[in-house]
Amino acid sequence: MRRPVLPLLPALTLLLMLGPVAAGIWGTLLPAFGHLPAAGLTGPSLEPFVALFDWPGLARAVLLSVTTGVGATVVSLAVVTLLLAGWSGTRQFRVLERLLSPLLSVPHAAAAFGLAFLIAPSGWIARLLSPIVTGWDRPPDILIVQDPLGLTMMAGLIIKEIPFLILISIAALGQAQAQNSVTIAQALGYGRVTGWLKTVFPCVYAQIRPPVYVVLAYSMSVVDVAVILGPNTPPTLSVQIVKWMSDPELSMRLLAAAGAIMQLALVVGALAFWRVGEIAFAHFGRRWIASGARGRCDPIIAQVALFSGGVSVLVVLFGLFVLAIWSVAGYWGFPDAFPDGFTSRNWMRHGPGAFAALGETAFIAVAVGFSALILTIGCLEAEYRHGLRVTQRAVWLLYLPLLVPQTAFLPGLQTLMLGIGAEVGRIPVMLAHLVFVLPYVFLSLSDPFRAWDARTGTVAAALGASPDGVLWRVRLPMLLRPILTAFAVGLAVSVGQYLPTLLIGGGRVATLTTEAVALASGGDRRAIGVYGLMQTGAALLPFAMALLIPTLVWRNRKGLRHE
C-alpha cells in the first residue's frame, strides 16, 4: 500500500514556513551577543549592544521606525474603517473596491517610485501647476521625499496598506451580518458611520486583527520603501541594519545583528503596545456605545474617508502613469508638464536587462507560487479528509513569518546558510520566498476551500468517486477561480520580495525588484520607469489571468460565474 503523504503535509508546510524564521533568529542572536566563531569571535559579550547604543543615530532611527510604522498603520486602519463605516454596500464603495483590488498587487517599490515621481518638488504635480499656478520656473528647495520625519515614507506605506486592509475587511464583513446591524442601528436613530462603528466594527476588527498586526510589523521594518522614500540622516533602523550588514568591516556585522535584535524587540514592543491600545480603545468604545451618542458629524466623517480613500487610489494610479511617461520620455526639463518628445530609446536600452530580470522573476515566482499552492491544497485537503481542527493558535502560526521583521531573521539566515556551506542562488531564494508566499496563498485559498459545500463531496463519494477522485474531478475544478486567485497572490508576493532576494541570493539572483531598487540609488528615472512598469505588470498580469481563465473555461457554466 502506498504511504499516504497527505497527513504529513501540514507539518512539512509549517516547517518550511517557520524553520527559516527560527533558524534566522538563532543566526542573528549569536553574533548579536558577540559570538561569531567563524571569525574567531566567541561570546557571549554585550559589546555589540554597547556599540549599537554608541551609534549617534540610534535614537532617531528607532523613533523613525516606530513613528512611521505605527503612523502608517493607524492612518490606513482609520481610513479603511471609516470608509467601510460610511460607504460599504453603496455604489461609490463598489467603484472604489473595484479600483483598489488590482492595486493590492502593485509592488511596494513601484508604488513608492510612482509616489516620489508625483510629489517631489520636481514631480508631476509641481510640473502641472508650474509656472502658472505656483509661479515656479525651477523646483522649490523643499524637502518632501526623504523628509526627516518620514512622512512621505508613511504616505508610501499607507497607499499600499489601504487596499490590503480593505480587501481583508470586506472578507470579514461577510460573517458580521453588517447590513442588518446597520439597518437596525439606523432605525434606532444612529448615523450610518456611528451605527456601523458601534455594531459592526467590533466583529470585523476581531477578524482582521492578525492582518493589522502584520501591517504594523511590516511597516516598522520595511526596507525597500524606506530606501526609496525614507530619510537618510539617519535612515530607519531596518535600513541601517542592511547598511551595517554590507559593511566590509566585521565588527559591523555584530552591530547589524544587535540592531536586528533591537528591531525584533521594537516590533514585539509595538505589538504589545498596540494590544494595550486595543484594550483601552475597547474600554472607551464600550462607554461610547453605552452613551447612546447618535453621531452628528457622520456625513462629514464619511466624506473625509471617501476623499482619503479616493486620493490613495489616485496617487497609485497617477504614480504608475508618471512611471509610464518617464519610461518613454526624451529630454524633460522643469516645469514642462510633458517631455519634449517621446522615444522608444529607454525601452531599447533597458528592455533587454529588464526582460532578463523578468525571466528570473517569473521563474522564481511560478516555482514558489506553485509549491505554495500544492502545499496549501494538501494541507486543506488533509484537514478536510482527516478532520484536523484548525485552532486560532494555528492561524497565528500562519501569520508568524509575517510578524517577525525581515531584517531580524534574514541576515542571520544568510550567515547560517554560509556556515553550513549551502550554495547561494536561486533555490535558497525560492525557499526564502516560500516563507512569505505560503501564508498569503494559504490565507487566500483557505476560506473558499473550506466554504465548499461538503455535501457535494458526499454525493460524489456516494456515486463511487474515491477521495482523490473527488478532489481532482469535483473540488478543484469547482474552485478553479479561487485557486488561480491564490496563485496570483503568491506570484505577486514573490515578485515584490526585495530583502530575501538580495540577502539570500548573494547578489546572484537579479529580479525586477532588486534591479529596480538598485536603480533607485542611481536616480535614472527613465530606467526606473521601465523597471517599475515591468514589475507592476509582472504582478498584475497573473490577477488578470485569474479573472480571465475561469471566465473562458466556464463560459457555459452559469453556476460558476459569480463566485
Partner: protein
C-alpha cells in the same frame, strides 16, 4: 579496473583546483573557456551596465567566457560576501569572481588576504598600461602589488548648468562663497558613498596649505588638527546645501536628474566624460559643462580584483585583461558609451589602435586631458574611513 580508472578520473580534478598560474597565459586561456565569471560591480549606472554587457558579449565570443554582471548598490556588499564566505569555509567556489573595486574596499580585502594574486602585471595587456604616468600602482596610497588590475581612470570634475550658473569656481573657498549667494543649489552624495567622501577629501586637499600630510596614515595625534578646517568649512556650507543638508542624493548619478530639473546648478562627478554621455541620453540639458579647480582635482584608477576563493580565476583574468585591451579602452573612453579615461599609454599602442582613440569625439561637456590639469593624489584610506565616520556622526544623523 575500469571502475578504478573512472574513480581516479573523478578524483583527479582535486589538484587541478590549485590556482592557475597567471604567467602561463595559454593555460589561463584554456582553463577560462567555458567558465562563468560573476562580476560584482555597482549597478546604478545604465551606461556602465551597458558597457559591462558589451564586455560580456565580447569575451563570450572571443574566449568562451560567460560574464554575469551582479549589480551592486554598494561595492562593500561584495567585500562582505567574500568575508562571510571565508568565515564559512567556502574557499573554492565563492559567489564572486571579480569585483570592481578601489580605495578602502581594496585595502580591506588585501589586508584580510581575501584577494587572488599577484596577477595584474602578468596580464598580456599590462605592457600597454601607462604604469608610470597614471596612478595605477598605488590605490589610495596602498601599493597595488598586482592584486588588482586597472581599467579606467577617474578624476573629479564639477558639473554645472551654464544656463543658471554661467561661471566656474576656481577653489573650494570660491564654491563656499557661491553657495552662500545661491543657497540650495549644490549638493554632494551622502557619505559613505564613494563620490561623497571624495568631495570631502577634495575639500580637505584644496583648503589645506600643505596636503602632503594626507599621504601618510591618519593618527590620533594629527587627525583632529588636520581635519578641523574641513569641519569648519562644512559647518558653514551645510545650511546652504540643497535641502539645507537634511537630505543628500544617494549617488553621483542621482544628481544628474536634479540638475536636469533645475534643482541643482552644481554637482560633482568622478568621470570627466559622464556629463557629455548624460547629455546624449537626455539625462542632462545641453547647457551643462564641467570644470576643475585651479589647483587641480583628485584622481584615481578604477580596478578589478579577483577574490581568493573564486572558482573561475582564469575566466576572471581573461576579462580583466580584455578590459585593458585597446578595443575595450577606446570604447570606454567614447563619451557616447562611458566617457571614462583610459589607463593605456598612447605611445605603447600601434598606430591603428591609437587612431581609434584619436578619432573619439570627446563631447561638448568633456574637458581635454590638458584642461583636466593636475591630478591630485588620493589621501591614505585611513583618512577617508575616519572622515566618513565623523561625517556620519556630525551630519548623517542631523538633529
Amino acid at each position: 579496473m575500469k571502475h578504478l580508472a573512472v574513480l581516479a578520473a573523478l578524483l583527479a580534478p582535486l589538484p587541478a583546483l590549485a590556482d592557475v598560474n597567471p604567467a602561463d597565459w595559454d593555460a589561463v586561456l584554456a582553463e577560462a573557456t567555458g567558465q562563468t565569471v560573476y562580476w560584482n560591480a555597482w549597478g546604478g549606472s545604465t551606461t556602465t551596465n551597458e558597457f559591462i554587457a558589451w564586455v560580456g558579449d565580447r569575451v563570450s565570443a572571443e574566449f568562451g567566457v560567460t560574464l554575469e554582471h551582479v549589480k551592486l548598490t554598494d561595492t562593500s556588499d561584495a567585500v562582505t560576501r567574500v568575508l562571510s564566505e571565508k568565515q564559512a569555509g567556502e574557499n573554492d567556489d565563492g559567489a564572486i569572481d571579480m569585483i570592481w573595486i578601489n580605495g578602502s574596499n581594496f585595502a580591506a580585502m588585501k589586508d584580510a588576504d581575501l584577494l587572488f594574486g599577484p596577477y595584474a602585471e602578468d596580464l598580456p595587456n599590462w605592457a600597454l598600461v601607462d604604469a608610470e604616468g597614471k596612478a595605477v600602482q598605488t590605490d589610495f596610497t596602498v601599493p597595488v602589488e598586482g592584486y588588482e588590475s586597472p581599467w579606467a581612470m577617474a578624476q573629479v570634475v564639477f558639473v554645472h548648468n551654464t544656463a543658471t550658473m554661467p561661471d566656474r569656481v576656481g577653489s573650494m573657498q570660491a564654491l563656499q562663497n557661491w553657495a552662500q549667494a545661491n543657497p540650495g543649489r549644490f549638493s554632494y552624495p551622502q557619505p559613505p558613498d564613494f563620490l561623497g567622501t571624495t568631495f570631502l577629501k577634495q575639500v580637505l586637499v584644496d583648503i589645506l596649505d600643505d596636503p602632503s600630510v594626507l599621504a601618510t596614515p591618519a593618527t590620533d595625534e594629527n587627525y583632529d588638527a588636520v581635519t578641523a578646517p574641513l569641519w569648519a568649512y562644512l559647518d558653514e556650507l551645510t545650511p546652504n546645501l540643497w535641502r539645507e543638508g537634511k537630505a543628500y542624493p544617494a549617488t553621483g548619478t542621482a544628481m544628474f536628474p536634479l540638475i536636469a530639473d533645475g534643482e541643482l546648478d552644481l554637482s560633482i562627478s568622478f568621470s570627466p566624460g559622464a556629463a557629455s554621455t548624460a547629455i546624449a541620453n537626455y539625462e542632462l540639458p545641453d547647457t551643462v559643462r564641467t570644470f576643475v579647480l585651479d589647483k587641480g582635482t583628485i584622481g584615481n584608477a578604477s580596478f578589478v580584483a579577483i577574490p581568493y576563493n573564486s572558482g573561475s580565476k582564469a575566466g576572471a583574468m581573461v576579462v580583466a585583461d580584455f578590459l585593458m585591451s585597446p578595443e575595450a579602452q577606446a570604447r570606454a573612453q567614447d563619451p557616447a558609451i562611458l566617457g571614462y579615461g583610459t589607463v593605456l599609454n598612447m605611445d605603447a599602442l600601434t598606430a591603428e589602435d591609437r587612431a581609434a582613440f584619436d578619432g573619439l569625439e570627446l563631447g561638448v561637456a568633456t574637458l581635454t586631458p590638458a584642461e583636466l590639469g593636475t591630478v591630485q593624489a588620493e589621501p591614505h584610506p585611513s583618512w577617508m574611513t575616519r572622515i566618513a565616520d565623523d561625517w556620519s556622526a556630525r551630519y548623517g544623523v542631523a538633529q
